[in-house]
């Protein structure tokens, strides 16, 4: 008997892990959508969010909801800092040829990778490589029974946060002046500049928003996992990247849908094969998507210079 309550539990497990990937993929995709470059340091912003959250919790023991604004602020600050260090220096040349040049894009990709490695090593020196436990009052691990299905409270919080983030971001992008600016810059940076949009400010805003979401994801997943380490951003970062590519690179709802799809596929793969196969399933899905849907599952066929 395969399609029983255990199978349903397996789908729920998959959605829980998918939500973790989605939470990270949202901020990641936002930044990619605007700049058209991969921000490899997103995983470190996520880790910074987790560590700052833990430091606040251990130092002040505030109510959980009070931790969130602080993590958001730190996320925004690290986004702005990251943009200043790794991305702005490459935007000095504003002519069309430089903006479309491949070399320029690859340079920012590598500079963000460099920032990510430096940040991770600094965190390792400060906090050590060991896993840090979360004080038990803050853990989001209480089992919640929904009929015969068991879910951790953290899964529900992460699911709700993903939904709120996605909704808020869609509102920001499609209902506000800032969002209009972000979409204009994402569509054509030079064009946006010509019609009087302050592209630098728009890009900084995008980084701030994307990194706020990333940092929040970090602390939430930390509370859900029960432990954080300077390396925690890497594995979900890779999965979020795959979700983003499968979702069509700049579609945020697409990235979320693909993140959930990845989570459920991994979980069901465990049921039929073995857990050791689950990364293979993820990358096979990526390859299949790229072969049959070169624009991603939710892509718009936008030109990529």
């Amino acid at each position: 008997m395969v399609f029983d309550v255990f199978f349903l539990q397996q789908v729920i497990n998959g959605l829980s892990i998918g939500c973790v990937y989605a939470l990270m993929a949202i901020g990641f995709t936002l930044i990619f959508g605007v700049l058209n470059v991969v921000n490899f340091a997103h995983g470190e912003v996520y880790t910074i969010g987790a560590f700052v959250g833990l430091m606040v919790i251990t130092a002040l023991a505030p109510p959980l909801l009070a931790v969130v604004p602080l993590v958001l602020a730190v996320g925004a600050a690290s986004g702005v800092g990251l943009e200043r260090i790794a991305f702005r220096p490459f935007r000095r040349f504003t002519d069309e040829a430089s903006q479309k040049s491949r070399a320029m894009r690859e340079a920012t990709l590598l500079s963000s990778l460099a920032v990510s490695i430096v940040t991770r090593e600094i965190m390792m020196h400060i906090f050590g490589g060991d896993m840090q436990g979360i004080p038990s009052g803050y853990l989001l691990q209480q089992p919640v029974a929904i009929g015969p299905i068991m879910v951790a409270s953290g899964s529900l919080v992460i699911f709700a946060t993903s939904a709120v983030m996605l909704g808020a971001l869609q509102f920001l992008l499609y209902r506000t002046q800032t969002g209009l600016g972000i979409r204009a810059v994402s569509n054509n940076q030079l064009g946006a500049r010509y019609v009087g949009i302050n592209t630098d400010r728009t890009i900084v805003t995008t980084f701030a928003v994307g990194s706020m979401l990333g940092a929040t994801a970090g602390i939430l997943v930390g509370l859900y996992d029960g432990a954080i380490s300077p390396h925690m951003g890497f594995a979900p970062g890779v999965k979020a990247f795959v979700a983003m590519v499968m979702g069509g690179l700049s579609s945020i709802p697409g990235a979320v849908a693909c993140a959930l799809l990845l989570g459920v596929s991994e979980s069901i793969a465990t049921e039929f094969l073995s857990s050791g196969w689950k990364d293979l399933i993820t990358y096979s899905l990526l390859v299949i998507t790229l072969v049959f849907f070169p624009q991603g599952l939710f892509g718009h066929g936008r030109e990529r210079a």
Binding site: D4, M131, P143, E266, S275
Partner: protein
């Protein structure tokens, strides 16, 4: 003619002075001869916490040894290299140690995979290598130059299997990390468990770095085994136990000695209550050598040493005792022979002797369980 004699005398005097100076320098060198032991371990990357423990423990042992005066006429130094738990880095380090003529022996690496990658080079170039933790059965089969002071999974697996069977449990699911060590732990346990009439319901591998075990737990729970056997490290063990509790699964947990660390309880809290494992080291052991080590480690590093720190402390001790036995003018060859002759080294992880043929260590294991938030020795089955 006279001129020549004067010149000759002057020259002779200068030469004599130079000779005397050189002789003096040689004498000074002999007194302060430096013998270097190479230590390769993951000091950065996501296994760096183990490397840090090894280095901490090694420093304590080295200072004790140099202060003890066991080796007259020489000082021993340990040079650390960071292998990042990466076989490629380990090979580079192996070449670096081989090129340094002062290095007479090497301790490390952490994982079996990385230890064996470096071990192939040490085997070919004749450098004695002692790993504190490589427990894959093939490690000591590389060449007569490999040693370890940890019990292998071929020994520990059947030991745990006997323990589980004796407790009246007949079916087991095995969850293991997908690497050389994990596979050897799986093999050791499964063969021992089957030999005693036990039945394995499932063997599930997971990739290193994985922190989500809910889907494995759900799959295993369907088969309702009597026990789940964990072949993994403490970070994963703590996450596994927590998620087991969240999913409301009550199947008891047994595991390999690699789970033994105060961190397991710190991270896993109530969820690891009742977890069983066998280990060579317990900080509660009243043996004065163990208590001295535990106190010194806690005083310096503000944390209680776990099995990994104890393994490194003993590995360094075994290596240094062999250096002392081989004398102040120790070579790689004489150090290997001295290591091979180790019998009854009194360490904090019990007495260690190397089998003259296989160079495998003989050690005793203690049965432990987590009770009331700490590891306690189990007496009975």
């Amino acid at each position: 003619m006279r001129k020549h004699t004067v010149l000759g005398t002057a020259l002779g005097a200068v030469l004599g002075a130079m000779l005397a100076a050189t002789a003096g320098a040689t004498a000074v060198q002999a007194a302060d001869r430096e013998i270097v032991i190479g230590y390769q371990a993951p000091l950065s990357g996501d296994r760096s916490q183990y490397g840090e423990m090894f280095r901490n423990a090694a420093q304590i042992k080295l200072e004790e040894f140099n202060a003890s005066g066991k080796l007259a006429g020489a000082k021993v130094a340990i040079t650390f290299e960071d292998s990042k738990d990466d076989p490629k880095e380990a090979r580079n380090i192996a070449h670096k140690f081989l090129d340094n003529s002062k290095v007479v022996g090497v301790i490390g690496d952490f994982s079996s995979t990385v230890s064996m990658a470096a071990g192939e080079i040490y085997a070919a170039e004749k450098m004695p290598q002692l790993s504190q933790t490589a427990s894959h059965p093939d490690f000591t089969k590389l060449s007569p130059w490999q040693f370890r002071n940890i019990t292998t999974q071929a020994f520990e697996g059947p030991y745990n299997a006997d323990w589980i069977i004796a407790a009246g449990m007949k079916t087991a699911a095995v969850i293991y990390i997908q690497n050389d060590w994990g596979i050897s732990a799986l093999d050791g346990f499964v063969s021992g468990f089957k030999a005693k009439g036990g039945k394995i319901t499932a063997t599930e591998a997971f990739n290193p770095g994985n922190r989500d075990f809910r889907s494995i737990l759900t799959k295993v729970a369907r088969q309702k085994p009597d026990v789940i056997y964990l072949a993994m490290f403490y970070e994963e063990g703590a996450a596994f136990a927590q998620q087991r509790e969240q999913l409301g699964i009550k199947i008891p947990l047994y595991g390999t000695s690699s789970l033994y660390s105060p961190k397991l309880i710190e991270l896993g809290r109530e969820s690891v209550e009742g977890l069983h494992l066998a280990t060579t080291f317990t900080p509660d052991n009243p043996d004065p050598a163990v208590q001295t080590f535990v106190k010194e480690y806690a005083a310096r590093f503000k944390t209680e040493p776990g099995m990994f720190a104890a393994q490194a402390y003993d590995a360094v001790g075994i290596m240094l005792d062999a250096v002392a036995k081989a004398g102040p003018s120790v070579t790689r060859e004489s150090l290997r022979d001295a290591l091979a002759a180790t019998t009854g080294y009194p360490g904090v992880t019990g007495a260690t002797s190397f089998d003259p043929v296989t160079r495998e260590p003989a050690k005793a294991l203690a049965k432990m369980t987590v009770k009331d938030g700490r590891f306690q020795v189990v007496t009975g089955p």
